[in-house]
Amino acid sequence: MVLRPDLREITRYLGYHGVTPDENMMSEIQQCIEELENVITPRFVYDRFDLLQKEEDGRSILSFGGLETESRDLARNLKGCTGVYIMAVTLGPGPDRLVRRASVGKMSRAIIFQAAAAAMTEAWCDEINERIRKEAAKEGFCTRPRFSPGYGDLPLSMQKQISMILNMPKEIGVSLTESYLMTPSKSVTALIGVLPGPASLDVASQKLTNSAAGKCENCAAVENCPYAD
């Protein structure tokens, strides 16, 4: 499986703030990507649900897929949406093993694996996101940028319900720790709102997913982002 991770994203994770690493570092990164390609087992699962939104005493309540949650930021993201896709993707346990292995005496490699695997996870997310966008477009819907538990005021604990709704352990081999972190760690869950309208209105399709208009829009660290160029 070949995933095309964004090299700039990898170097950003590695702390190169807008600086392009030299040739040797770039070839090192390339090698790590190749090694990762040999161990990843990308999987995904998604499903679409009707969305109900209401305001109660100034609180934003959203319900879909048999769950109910309160989140102002998610409500803003899903404004006007009539449905929502819930997706979960993973690269499998391979990258975690590779990072663990490199951590024994070769941390410089471990962090490159870590950064590259994170960017590959994003690339995999983008691919599934795109699949969802096309599916929605066929039915005359446009999509909102994806939004994950832990963004803004959407609680991480929502992972538990998402995991149940999508049957994540069985479908893609992702389970949750006591503190709602996903294992394998190179996994992502996200919500993608849909509303009637032409695909030209897609926000996700406008390559804004890595910018403030995309997934950063509700990040608490947007003011002093350690990864900003």
Binding site: N24, S108, G173, T177, T183, S185, A220
Partner: protein, 843 residues
């Protein structure tokens, strides 16, 4: 009286039932509703479900307990499981099918086991054990573990079943279209593990339809010796109006199952999407086919979570380096619980071409069972080679075998009664290929005849304990020729006779043969060739010893065991035969720069192996991450000074430069005059933003390589440690990269780091700080949600050990945040932590 299932399993066709979920949904089960609750809420519907399958003609049907465990039902698990078995028994009565067997159905916990996830192995065994106790008490006829997609969890479930009841245990696992478990296991590795655990039948279910399962079933029938079960889905799922539907109807399904039955499986059934009609047609068609019992495959195999290694006909290399005997540094690492040292030793051997790793951590003054447990756990979390548990301590042996994620090798049993009585029951229970030493109460027989006699006795013991003979490898015992000139001859004869007369496999600790002689590698490599020629199946040796690896690879090529000599060519293409030194100097393209001599052996350039690795024992490792690697040849790097090597992050040349410099510079001058200033230079660059994190770490690794060399020269002298620091990722958080980066940097600056790992409870951190009297604790948290545990840890530390300072870091941490949770320091990166440590310890 109904026949015991064991009398029928594998002797006649047996049919399992089909899907549950879709049928319950049609009866009104809502999404998100737990099906197991229906055992109590809607027993009639469950009985009805069972009756459908019983009337369709299945022989074995599953209780509605797939997801029943204490994680999902903490309050009423016993009630649910008992009701489920009662419902099944009631269905059997109503359907007039008293001949059918009630299978206590056990599915995965939904949690990943450590180290992938956070569920400890023994906790998983407990969770499954509870269900097995309730289910067997209520009257189930067998345990069916199903839909397992992690070999480790499968092992936990089988152990739990075996330890909590005496019912037959069957297990089916779920492979993907590539024939892999979600956690990476193959058909071969999974079968090795499960047959080792002595399951009564094994097979595959769910995930795929019958057609997609065919390649997997083919492999299963090729490697399994126990009966094979195949329970596919009704094809592939698709969603239709929020409902999952499957695309293979009863007629088509039965057609495929007929094909599958003919491939040599012994039991068939269905999984998701299959209905009583699928099962009725399948049962009808399959029962008309001639039944073929499973054949014994007699393969000698060991496995890890993902790999299966077969011993013989192709001989294998077992790496011997994880063993403290005669190794001062290794002993010290054991005393210091420095498991990373042991892991590095393992990784080096894997890189050098070992197939299996021997693990011996026996030292009189340490807690060997505990050490064996943690070393096995850590090794299997970073490498994929099968392990050989090597100990004389029965408790360490059992704990190592139990926690091991696979079918291990076990080193060893002897001909003594006591040894046989201790070791065989463990191998019977956990599975394993057992190394059998041909010695007994009277010592080591001096002739082959005596050794063969003991070997026979051990095979007979295997029969008695129900351990298959192919799971025994006979150690012919290599003893030095320097004390007995005939010893090699006797050993070789023993190997030959085990092969020819007993048709068994053999193993040797090869290097023992040369003890006390000069040029040991010379003798060892020749003896290895002779032993292989006489039938040796497994060589316990140092895979970093290039002469021996040369003999091994040459033997494989010569014996027709290396197709097209590909392995040999891959290892040696582009390398040169050794030539006399005088000639080599003038020969163009000679071996110049290939080896630096520290390993005492030539290098194999073709395998990408560089010169000696730092701390090297002869096993070289690559150094391609060096700054300017690729450009820099060995010749030019050897000219590089220490400072430059560290600044450019080149570990190998840093070690070389340090070694050279030590000839004329005192160790301490080298550290203070070159190493530390070089590190400072890189550190300052990092803080200014001209050097980046990967470079900082590479420099740190280069400095470490140099430090190791310098330390060696200081042996015997007391070495200054600037201070001892605890590092931990807080409770609930499993991100440890940041913490590990800080650790590398602190160690570089001369601090002794006690790394407590990740997901560490506040109490554990405080306890360690008090016990070790620690002045500085570093805490890492990556999530806002886990900063709470950080705060709790600081509160507890300040209360219980007020003189300890706490430095915090992590992605979400800020100065304000750190102040709010009363940390003594916020470190924005690894260098900032170093500076704070210098402050605390007056560096």
């Amino acid at each position: 009286m109904k026949k015991d299932l064991r009398e029928r399993l594998g002797k006649e066709w047996l049919v399992f039932d089909g899907g549950t979920g879709s049928i319950l949904q049609s009866k009104g089960l809502k999404g998100g509703e737990l099906p197991e609750t229906w055992n109590l809420k809607r027993p009639e519907d469950i009985i009805d479900l069972h009756c459908g399958y019983l009337r369709a003609g299945c022989d074995i049907f599953n209780t509605n307990t797939f997801g029943a465990n204490a994680l999902k039902f903490p309050d009423n698990l016993e009630e649910i499981v008992t009701a489920a078995v009662e419902n099944a028994k009631e269905a059997r009565r109503r359907a007039g099918r008293e001949d059918a067997y009630v299978a206590l159905d056990i599915g995965p916990t939904g949690k990943l086991l450590e180290p992938l996830g956070d569920l400890p192995f023994e906790r998983a065994v407990e969770l499954f054990g509870e269900v097995v106790r309730y289910g067997s008490r209520a009257g189930a006829d067998l345990v069916l573990i199903e839909t397992m997609s992690d070999s480790y969890e499968a092992k936990a479930a089988v152990l739990a079943a075996k330890e909590n009841c005496s019912l037959p245990v069957c297990i089916t696992v779920t492979f993907d279209e590539k024939g892999k478990l979600l956690t990476g296991g193959s058909v071969d590795s999974t079968v090795a593990l499960l047959e080792g655990l002595r399951v009564d039948a094994l097979g595959v279910n769910c995930g795929l339809g019958p057609e997609q399962m065919i390649p997997i079933v083919k492999r299963l029938t090729e490697v399994c010796s126990v009966p094979v079960i195949v329970n596919p889905n009704a094809g592939l799922p698709r969603t239709e109006g929020g409902r999952t539907v499957y695309n293979v109807g009863p007629e088509e399904f039965a057609g495929w199952m007929e094909k599958i039955a003919e491939m040599g499986v012994q039991a068939v059934g269905g999984c998701c999407g299959t209905t009583p009609e699928h099962i009725r047609l399948t049962a009808e068609r399959v029962r008309k086919l001639p039944f073929k019992a499973q054949t014994r495959k007699n393969r000698t195999v060991v496995s890890s979570f993902s790999q299966c290694v077969e011993i013989g006909p192709r001989p294998v290399i077992i790496g011997e380096r994880i063993n403290p005997t005669g190794k001062k540094k290794f002993k010290q690492a054991l005393r210091d619980c420095d498991i990373e040292y042991i892991l590095r030793e393992g990784l080096r051997q894997e890189d050098s071409g070992a197939h299996i790793l021997d693990v011996n951590v026996g030292l009189p003054e340490i807690d060997e069972p505990a050490m064996m447990t943690s070393v096995v756990q850590r090794l299997q979390s970073v490498l994929a080679l099968p392990l050989q548990i090597d100990t004389t301590d029965p408790e360490a042996l059992e704990r190592g075998m139990r926690i091991y994620n696979g079918k291990p090798m076990v080193n060893s049993v002897g001909g003594k009664k006591e040894s046989i009585e201790t070791v065989f029951p463990l191998v019977r229970k956990y599975g394993g290929v057992l190394v059998a030493l041909v010695l007994d109460e009277d010592g080591i027989p001096s002739d082959a005849e005596g050794r063969i006699r003991i070997a026979k006795r051990i095979y007979e013991a295997a029969d008695r304990y129900g351990v298959p003979r192919e799971d025994i490898v006979i150690d012919g015992l290599a003893m030095t020729i320097s004390s007995d000139n005939k010893s090699a001859v006797v050993t070789l004869e023993t190997l030959r006779r085990v092969r020819d007369e007993l048709h068994g496999h053999t193993i040797l600790g090869v290097s023992n043969i040369s003890f006390g002689l000069p040029r040991r590698a010379l003798i060892n490599s020749h003896f290895l060739t002779m032993a292989l020629q006489n039938g040796l199946s497994a060589a316990i040796m140092n895979p970093g010893n290039e002469e021996m690896m040369e003999s091994y690879r040459a033997y494989l090529a010569l014996a027709g065991l290396d197709p097209q000599c590909m392995g040999f060519i891959e290892a040696y293409a582009g390398t040169q035969d050794r030539v006399p030194a005088a000639k080599a100097a003038g020969a163009p393209g000679g071996t110049t720069g290939a080896a630096d001599g520290t390993a005492g052996s030539a290098t194999a350039g073709g395998t990408g192996v560089g010169g000696a690795a730092y701390g090297g024992t002869g096993a070289a490792s690559t150094d391609r991450t060096g700054w300017g690697a690729g450009r820099a040849s060995a010749a030019s790097s050897s000219a590089m000074g220490l400072t430059e090597s560290v600044v450019r992050g080149m570990a190998q040349s840093a070690a070389e430069a340090a070694r050279k410099a030590l000839a004329h510079t005192a160790a301490l001058d080298l550290i203070n005059g070159e190493l530390i200033p070089a590190l400072d230079q890189v550190g300052k660059g990092f803080e200014k933003g001209t050097v980046f994190l990967p470079q900082l770490l590479m420099s740190a690794e280069a400095a470490k390589a140099a430090f190791e060399v310098v330390k060696e020269s200081l042996q015997g002298q007391s070495q200054e440690v600037k201070g001892r620091i605890i590092l931990a990722t807080v409770k609930g958080d499993i991100h440890d990269i940041g913490k590990n980066i800080v650790k590398v940097m602190l160690e570089n600056y001369g601090y002794d780091v006690i790394d407590l790992g990740k997901d560490v409870a506040p109490e554990a951190i405080v306890e360690a700080a008090i016990r070790e009297n620690i002045a500085l604790v570093g805490l890492s948290a990556l999530m806002t949600t886990t900063v709470v545990s950080m705060e709790e840890t600081i509160r507890l530390l300040h209360e219980k050990k007020p003189d300890t300072k706490v430095v915090v870091g992590g992605a979400v941490m800020t100065q304000e945040y750190a102040d709010a949770i009363h940390a003594d320091c916020y470190a924005k990166d690894a260098m900032a932590t170093v500076h704070f440590a210098e402050e605390v310890f007056g560096g």
